[in-house]
Subunit: 181 residues, 2 copies
């Protein structure tokens, strides 16, 4: 499968998953893709916890209200550490975001679907903090995202996008040039 | 080229570039990959300016001190807008980071090299602001990153990484389990 097909064909999947477990080999391949992302000053602030134990997965899902990806056979939890790259500069959000995008592409390339769940678990009710407490994540790490992984059991829909031509320009900002060069 | 080879083989290139221009078709393919990235609540806060005009490119390079990618035949400037996804939540950093990672992979897939220059231009001396002023970027947009694009004229070195096993876990945080499952 061509990388451009994967990049341009990826979408956020919020449907049901088939009750088929994800082999460890595939979870490792996905996390390896995440770890391969660049990071500010190479600080590698992102790490990953794959959850495929049925009991633990059910316990984690029970902490998420309203629920997400209830039928997913595996979750990958994305963890970050606020490490200063230099002086007071910290690029951990950029780091984990690049890692997540790599994993979303890897998920798609392996025939699975996923969705970037961040705002839902890092909101004021701090679902991420409850999950972290449940599995004993130390304070210096923060769970920032859940990626469910599994095979889609419903049609995968594409989100609508602003026309590409409105998001790019050549050699300046002049809006008259928009998409015309 | 396999997507996993591209993801795992990508690295930050800071060497000389060959004096060979990048076809518009390739710059469009790269920016299209960037625009295909997911964004928080689908707000699509990221946009792109490709610079391949020799005069303008030289003017922009002259604003960057210390200089970067002086031999690159093209730059892609990454722009963001701080749009609220919901309430006071804004995911524009996540949005542009995912877009940048997609573009770095596209660059590599097309046989070019690049490097994520963000801290260097968004530091206290505000090089990004000078570039924005030079090309007339309105205030609601912020240039956050430069991606040079070109063919490497030196060996591409891989950065060193923490062993993968130290960045992943299965079903919990217990460090005794580290990489053993």
């Amino acid at each position: 499968m061509d990388i451009f097909d994967i990049i341009n064909g990826r979408s956020s999947y919020r449907g049901r998953y088939k009750p088929i477990s994800v082999p460890r080999e595939d979870l490792l391949k996905i996390m390896r893709a995440g770890a391969a992302a660049p990071s500010g000053c190479n600080k590698q602030t992102t790490s990953f916890i794959a959850v495929d134990d049925k009991k633990l997965l059910a316990e984690i899902k029970a902490l998420i209200e309203p629920p997400i990806a209830v039928t997913a056979p595996a979750f990958i939890l994305v963890l970050t550490r606020k490490v200063f790259a230099y002086r007071d500069k910290c690029f951990n959000v950029q780091d984990y975001s690049a890692a997540i995008e790599n994993m979303l592409l890897a998920v798609k390339a392996l025939g699975y679907e996923s969705c970037w769940y961040e705002g839902h678990i890092t909101d004021d009710d701090d679902i991420a903090g409850k999950i972290a407490a449940h599995i004993g994540v130390p304070d210096e790490y923060k769970i920032v995202c859940i990626l469910p992984v599994g095979i889609a059991d419903e049609n995968v829909k594409r989100g609508s996008k602003i026309p590409f031509e409105q998001r790019i320009r050549f050699n300046g900002f002049d809006s008259a040039r928009l998409g015309k060069e």
